[in-house]
Subunit: 123 residues, 2 copies
């Protein structure tokens, strides 16, 4: 019963085929290689649909763009303020979430532990 959309599948495929945590604009450029007529609005809409379905993740680093991640396994991110690169960090916040949900009496559905600074290449 799941609705099908060639465009949505293509957006997801492109996002899942990179580890670079791209922006909507990058995804748009790359989906166009396969579907030259796709529009930027369609990319944005489907990124939102996918992220509400929780089959992708939306990341905010305060650099003015949303970034997206096709890897939904529990992990965190490091943002290099110098070169702008985003690195995966092997920290799983699941346990931390439980503790915090308990003590703060809230219902946590997702966590984003974002670290920033200078990456080893930029030092």
């Amino acid at each position: 019963m799941k609705n099908f959309s060639r465009q949505r599948e293509a957006v997801k495929k492109v996002l899942c085929s990179t580890k670079t945590h791209p922006t909507a604009a990058w995804i748009y450029e790359n989906v166009r290689k396969e579907l030259p007529n796709i529009s930027l609005g369609t990319v944005y809409r489907n990124l939102n649909v996918l992220s509400e379905e929780r089959s992708i993740k939306k990341l905010s680093f305060g650099d003015g763009n949303e970034h997206f991640d096709g890897d939904i396994s529990p992990h965190s991110h490091f943002y290099c303020e110098c070169c702008g690169k985003i690195y995966d960090i092997a920290f799983d916040a699941t346990e931390l979430c439980k503790e915090i949900a308990d003590s703060a009496k809230v219902n946590i559905t997702s966590a984003a532990c974002n670290f920033s600074g200078k990456c080893s290449q930029c030092q």
Copy 2:
């Protein structure tokens, strides 16, 4: 040698007098009560200056706005996806940062541990 600016002081005062993690627009509205002629651009510029000086913090929750926090003591945030409210969480990421900096061999200058879900009022 520190430069003085009545506007910058007022922006900081307004931000520090609330616990609501407001947006630039909210800060603008409230600074205007004291300085009716201040412009939105000035608010934005000073928020950036203050946040580069690290005397305030910029927060991104992916809701399309930047939020600001005058409380720079180490703590984390919970964003309610339902009502949009932002709550302080008493989690200090300093230790976690050290561990991660060690294992990932990066230089961490700041961390943002943002949790989201439904707050107790919205449940």
